[in-house]
Amino acid sequence: MTARGLIVAALMILAVSPAHGATPRPVDEQTVHEIAAQLRCVVCQSLSVADSPSETANQMRGVIRERLAAGDSPAQVRDYFVEKYGPWILLAPPRRGFDLLVWVAPFAVLGIGLVAIVLVLRRWRRAPSPAAQAPLAADVRERIRREMEELDR
């Protein structure tokens, strides 16, 4: 990079640095990534803001960086996006209200299934298999034959 390029780059960094907050804090890119990974990229299908190459996601990462530099905690930054876009923006739905269902239902259904399997297995073990049953008594056999004949008539 030439000297002129460096000056231009420095000016660009100055231009995008936040206006609010007298002394911007140094921002850990790992923290930016962690927050971005929890947010849904609004213009994508099933991509987080961390993973999307779109300009919108890029701008959102910029806002995350800016807010952290201004002194916001990661939770405050996340809350900012929820406030603007609603809980929809979170890739993991909040564990309360109706959304709790997606956290609880799979485990509940799994539990019910396990209980059902145990009950069925126990029943199968208790019931003797048909092959092990004693052959029909001669008089019963005779009665079945007679009733079948009546049906055919």
Binding site: T56, E66, Y85, L101, R123
Partner: protein
């Protein structure tokens, strides 16, 4: 476990799943409600293309129609562009201001767009997309209707029409200042 027992278990398992599916299919996945309705509109101050004032505070007391657009947004932004200028001309003397925020655009293309449609209401680029994100914008075009007290009241996703704009503006203008 008798067959009678099974007769209760199967509906007990199937009915909640069907209800959940029914709920899922009745709701429109494309309809993403904004949590901003009724909340104070976020303040902004941008440098407009024409030099006209472009901050919300300046227009307090007026009904604001805040439109997010881009020159690359085809066809919706091109469809609604003539309506925006018509509405601006029709309502500017009745206490309404139309503001256009140009998102993720380049300067030349944006100015060409404004010239093509002869837009005379204030328009400004949104560097870094801060204003768009502050309004929870998903994509362009989106239009917010802000009442005289500075509260977000309606949001239109997709191309605006004269009828939709008139409906919201007339309602907000009819409210007591």
């Amino acid at each position: 476990m008798t067959s009678r027992w099974i007769r209760f278990v199967i509906p007990a398992a199937v009915v909640p799943v069907l209800l959940l599916l029914a709920y899922g299919f009745w709701t429109n996945p494309r309809e993403i409600p904004t949590p901003l309705i009724g909340k104070p509109a976020a303040a902004f101050a941008l440098a407009s293309f024409s030099g006209a004032p472009f901050n919300l505070e300046h227009y307090r007391g007026r009904v604001v129609m805040l439109n997010f657009w881009a020159s690359w947004c085809r066809p919706a932004c091109y469809e609604e562009a003539p309506a925006l200028e018509r509405i601006w001309k029709e309502y500017k003397d009745r206490g309404v201001v139309v503001l256009g925020v140009d998102v993720q655009d380049n300067d030349d293309a944006a100015r060409k767009f404004l010239a093509q449609f002869g837009h005379t209401f204030p328009n400004a680029p949104d560097p870094g997309g801060r204003v768009a994100i502050d309004y929870g914008v998903y994509g362009v075009p989106e239009t917010f209707f802000i009442d005289r007290q500075g509260h977000v009241r309606f949001k239109q996703v997709g191309a605006l029409t004269d009828d939709i704009a008139r409906k919201h503006l007339d309602k907000l203008l009819a409210e007591k200042p």
